[in-house]
Symmetry: C2
Subunit: 447 residues, 2 copies
């Protein structure tokens, strides 16, 4: 069979939390001022209790609320697909499967965490969420999720994306979200930045600071983050839990599992349910594909760093390029992040996750091949996973290896970037290690 | 359950041909010059034998080739969904189901016919297909389908859409299709039009003429049409065949079935498998929702007319507004067609299909409500079916009626039109019957 589908009643009813299974564990998040482990109370100013508990939890299985399952069922369980047309085009003996997260109405895996984040906030009386967004995938997901719980949503969207990528802005507005270009006149910090640099294109770090200020300033408002944090990885585990069931139905077991890595959530979501098998001695490799232009796992340092430029977030122990590292503009905007989820970072530290840095031209080439064989135009982010899968399949084309990757999103809204690629207007970027070392030298000195 | 999914091996393996079941039958297509029934031989210049046989067939069930089933399985069987969040928002006792054709990688039902059209051409040695496209849905579907069979595809895209709707052009190119703005310098008729009117925005009628000239001029090339014809309706019957199975699993039977109507193919595809039940006495209504600005079923005339402005196509017996009727620019571009599929027209003639003409503002309003309740942003075309379903549900909100409609496509590529709607920049259009009568007075006089 080309495609393995599960019925609604076969959807997993618990998320899987990998934290208690990570050898040598996770290091705690630290207060950005005192450098002491941050107290759950302090997080309570911007996050609901339900999510803070998940963030800190040592439980392996956490039930998915009925209300979340019902909204998940708009697009979940998502299909597992055998990429046999791609295999034929490659002439490989490897079997390639992909988990198709592109089928969600917002076009990516981001809804898997947006829905429970909206739910747990709603349950604790929160009426409004703020967030930042770059290219707009996460802002669209949160606008979608809040519309389902009759909550308001305000998205601070990096100005350059706001101006250049209007489709995702329109999507957020259609779902009822309020979108402003960041920096905006709506916050103190936004006004300060605008006064200093009225023509700034904006940056994710500025948008995070605005969304945080807004959430701190309103009692009925919380803040929401779409990647990196433990509770986001927990929610994304639904991807891997379904895939594992579907691979069993297919009668196959993956030798290698691949995902693209920006903040790490779609990759982690697919691999974590397989980590216990690995720890029990199963031979399985986990390959995280990141852009060569923003290679936190490949060229960064495992250290405490903040999530934003303004250093307002807790310090997280993660592979990082330094919070003021500025990657070049590139079409896989969702992979342009300086740090990697603490969970993925710890798995890389233990040698369980292997990174692979890829250039954008080879990824777009893989994306076009995938579109013309498997029929789906992948998000520029997801083309990194496809290129990784092709590299693994072609290492020894005669070896009957089984590969599973995450097709994290559709590229339909990113079609202008395919046009740029097909017209030969794109180029590759990478950073000399020296530039990265300079950025890393500015990190807070925490042993 | 929110959603009824079928597994790949539960997909119907035969299409259903309603033609032999239509009371009083269909009238034959006529040669545009002699006004005599057209011979299959003449159609052979631009269509493959396999499709001509389907066009003329009196068989009720026609097997779907394995190669077509395999490509269908990229997105088929498509889900049947209970719109319970929409029902709640309306406060209706009616049960509303929709067949979700928006999940295909090209975003609409058009692939259901593009794939078999490419297959039957390929089987007869054809290496290249030409077609016209307005907004680009059909051109994208055919580019997708030809890429699966290693065929070339040339799409003549109406210039105004080519310039204003670049995303679908990019989609066709990513699938490997060649796209030119029509009128183009690539055909004799295109050059003639450009010489006369260099600044013309183009029209579907011109693009059809160019695609036909191209197909006539090349021995390895055939022409392909995305709606109206009997074989297109046949291919779209997969939608209704799946839906009927899924409604049985849901334990429900529709009292009313609704679709949007441009050329008629998505509506016909959903309803035809239910027509035999109707003929056996089952109480069921079939409602075709068309735009008030292009109301062929509501305000047109059942007559022989051509499919294009240049009068190159066979004459078809259909409800028409006249082949030179020019509807206003509107966002549901897929519904801007002067005629209606002969099959739908014959069912309307027999009183089996009831038309409903709707204005675009009420349709966009329904589309936004649907996005915020059911989570999916519908194509502007599909919002007509949603508005129709809401009108049916609200006739008597306490009546426990069962409604089924076709969500023919996603609106993700049409998001700028939602932006226009939300900003209050759209308006309604309709034609006085007098203007329509003037256009109809120019039809060929065939009894």
């Amino acid at each position: 069979m080309k495609k393995i589908v599960l019925r609604d009643d076969e959807m997993p009813r618990q998320w899987y939390n990998v934290v208690p299974d990570i050898p040598n564990g996770l290091r705690p998040p630290l207060d950005p001022v005192s450098h002491k482990p941050i107290s759950p109370d302090k997080l309570g100013a911007i996050f609901p209790q339900g999510l803070i508990e998940q963030e800190m939890s040592q439980e392996r299985f956490i039930p998915i609320p009925e209300e979340v399952l019902e909204i998940y069922s708009i697009w979940r369980p998502s299909p597992l697909v055998r990429a046999n047309k791609l295999e034929q085009a490659l002439g490989t003996k490897a079997k390639i499967y992909f988990k198709n997260e592109s089928v969600s109405p917002i076009g990516s895996h981001k809804g898997n965490s947006a829905v429970p984040q909206a739910f747990f906030n709603k349950r604790e009386g929160i009426k409004r969420l703020t967030t930042e967004t770059g290219a707009g995938q996460w802002g669209a997901a949160l606008s979608f999720a809040t519309s389902k719980f009759d909550m308001a949503c305000k998205v601070y969207m990096v100005r350059v994306s706001y101006d250049q990528k209007p489709y995702r802005k329109f999507m957020m507005q259609t779902y009822g979200g309020e979108v402003v270009a960041s920096p905006s006149a709506d916050t103190k910090i936004g006004r300060e930045i605008l006064a200093r640099t009225p023509d700034t294109p904006g940056a994710l770090g500025m948008a995070i600071s605005e969304a945080l200020e807004d959430a701190f300033a309103h009692a009925d408002t919380n803040y929401s983050l779409g990647s990196v944090l433990n509770h986001v990885v927990l929610h994304q585990s639904i991807v891997g839990l379904e895939a594992k069931k579907q691979m069993e139905i297919a009668g196959d077991y993956p030798d290698v599992i691949i995902g693209c890595c920006g903040g790490g959530s779609n990759f982690a979501g697919l691999i974590v349910p397989y980590v216990p098998d690995y720890l029990e001695g199963k031979k399985i490799r986990f390959v995280g594909c990141e852009p060569a232009s923003c290679p936190s796992l490949t060229s960064g340092k495992l250290a405490y760093d903040t999530g934003d430029v303004a250093m307002m977030t807790p310090l997280l122990c993660m592979y990082t390029l330094g919070h003021d590292f500025v990657p070049p503009g590139m079409h896989a905007g969702g992979l342009r992040y300086h740090g990697m989820a603490p969970i993925v970072s710890a798995l890389a530290r233990e040698g369980i996750v292997t990174p692979m840095a890829l250039h954008q031209l080879e990824c777009f080439e893989a994306g076009v091949l995938f579109a013309r064989t498997e029929g789906i135009i992948p998000a520029p982010e997801s083309t990194h996973a496809i290129r990784g899968a092709i590299i693994e399949a072609m290492k020894d084309p005669k070896e009957p290896k089984t590969i599973l990757f995450n097709l994290s999103g559709t590229g339909v809204i990113d079609l202008p970037s395919y046009d740029q690629y097909l017209q030969g207007n794109l180029q590759d970027y990478s950073y000399p290690q020296q530039d990265i070392d300079e950025s890393l030298a500015k990190l807070p000195n925490i042993p």
